[in-house]
Symmetry: C2
Subunit: 320 residues, 2 copies
């Protein structure tokens, strides 16, 4: 997905947030500093900061406080990625060696804790207790989602409801919270807070479904990790759930475990791509996008609303 804000009115603010993030991962502890900086520099779309800014644009926008809120949401996201990679025993993230791969699981566990602690530090000057409450609720749900994800690994009997609940916790709630907390922190009207929270939720659901699709349809290079990694790691995503409705594919899919060969996976990925399940998953993603777009129809017109619409429209087209 093209990062549109690079050319937009958000550029200056996103640069300031990037600077804040760099300051926040700075520490005298050399391993932690190197590991955190590497993850930060590997990129990522800075999706959550963008949504914090856009949410805040519906209130009294002040970059000085909003940039800290934006950094908080990004750092929480990063912390959860680091702990996720431990669970998944992932070797690559954003095309670079993961912290667990480079330094082992224990350092990775504390690196996640460190990023989390920095996230709280960045948020601690915000006065609105509602913002802290929403943040705490969200972190809790994200954490519960991660535990569910361990339990659901290689569980080929799970249903659509289980998948949707998992991606809600894994992705949608943090994006939803980014939009809403941005609005809360800038003192936006309650009705705008509610609308932005909904938008973020629908958009996040759509985004994660697309992410799960791209794990099959993108190249290793575009993904920064091998295609089909999710399934190989036992994460049963929407295209897989649909593909399993076909008895032959079902047989083939339930044989997957962490030792499955590259050849087997390549052949299976092709089968899943041919099965029509990718298109069905895309339909569901599109339905969430439609809901995201219609949820914000009553927001006041302006550049912020335009960007929310643009981002939603681009989710469906993204390639990585």
């Amino acid at each position: 997905m093209k990062v549109k804000w690079k050319y937009s009115y958000l550029k200056k603010d996103m640069d300031a947030i990037e600077h804040t993030l760099r300051q926040l991962v700075t520490t005298e502890q050399p391993i932690l500093h190197a590991a955190s900086l590497k993850l930060l520099e590997a990129g990522g779309k800075r999706f959550r900061p963008v949504f914090v800014i856009l949410g805040a644009k519906f209130g009294k926008y002040q970059l000085q406080s909003i940039k800290n809120v934006a950094a908080t949401l990004e750092l929480i996201h990063m912390a959860s990625l680091v702990h996720d990679d431990v669970i998944d025993e992932a070797k690559l993230r954003r095309g670079k060696e993961t912290i667990n791969e480079e330094h082992g699981n224990k350092i990775a566990m504390y690196a996640g804790d460190f990023l989390f602690a920095r996230a709280l530090e960045s948020m601690s000057e915000i006065e609105e207790s509602k913002a802290h409450q929403r943040l705490a609720d969200t972190i809790l749900e994200v954490c519960l989602g991660e535990i569910e994800q361990i339990k659901d690994k290689y569980n080929f009997k799970q249903n659509l409801r289980c998948y949707l609940r998992r991606i809600k916790r894994k992705t949608a709630l943090l994006i939803s919270a980014s939009c809403e907390i941005g609005a809360i922190a800038s003192g936006a009207e309650l009705k705008f807070q509610t609308v932005l929270k909904k938008y973020g939720y629908y958009l996040g659901m759509s985004y994660q479904i697309m992410d799960d699709i791209l794990d099959f349809t993108s190249s290793d290079k575009e993904l920064g990790k091998p295609a089909g990694s999710d399934l190989l790691q036992g994460n049963i995503t929407l295209p897989v759930l649909f593909a399993m409705e076909n008895p032959t594919l079902h047989e083939k899919i339930i044989k997957v475990n962490e030792n499955t060969s590259v050849e087997y996976m390549k052949s299976l990925i092709e089968d899943i791509k041919k099965s029509g399940s990718i298109d069905r998953a895309r339909d569901i993603s599109d339905r969430y996008l439609d809901k995201a777009l219609s949820s914000i129809k009553d927001l006041p017109k302006g550049e912020a609303k335009s960007m929310l619409i643009t981002i939603a429209k681009n989710i469906g087209k993204r390639k990585s």
Copy 2:
């Protein structure tokens, strides 16, 4: 150490905090719930909640808000224990199987995250941003301390300064923060906040040194884990640092690694006990206690101050 508050004017408030803690570890996720409850029920001295209460007694004391702050500090402590046990590959905690031993490192990592998230939730209604800032700073330091602890494991060349910095981060800062945040949250005068912060720091240093001594002098049963566990796990504590000044003991100590036999450890523990290094460590602990006691001499008289004194005086006498 006898838990004096059971018979004191803190009983009612501590019962309320216990109830709050039970509510906070409740979750529909069965493994998390069971693991957290087991850790909670295994006991612990609830030292941090006691200090939050006592700190708050120097301001406008309101149990309704203070009990949440107290629960936050205890949950952060519990979360750090859970992650510590992963690092130490500890099998027992408070006489019970650790979460990593029972459910594996991954579940333990997320159980720590869960307790941490609940800690934030409990604190999120507190309005004073200074309390949030102090909490965030403390969490960050605790986290950095944990990383240092990994680095310092089996490092027999570390010095006293290194040890003191580590126990400051590991224990003293969280106790110091408990006293101070209690005072902040109840709107106590700034000068009282400062005094309580200092008291907590000195007391915490003394407490941890005593803890490190008890690892040698207590029975397995009193400790709830094998005596000498710290050294076996590579945590170089004050009695060990002093013992290493003796060349013969130095030779014997630097041979310890995670595979050292029970017999070797038993003999080594006896040698360390005979070397006089326990008494020297106790002297340092006592010096911190004296500082703790003299730091609060200007606090207004009353039951809270009496308890702060009683606790300090009992630290030196505790057996477990």
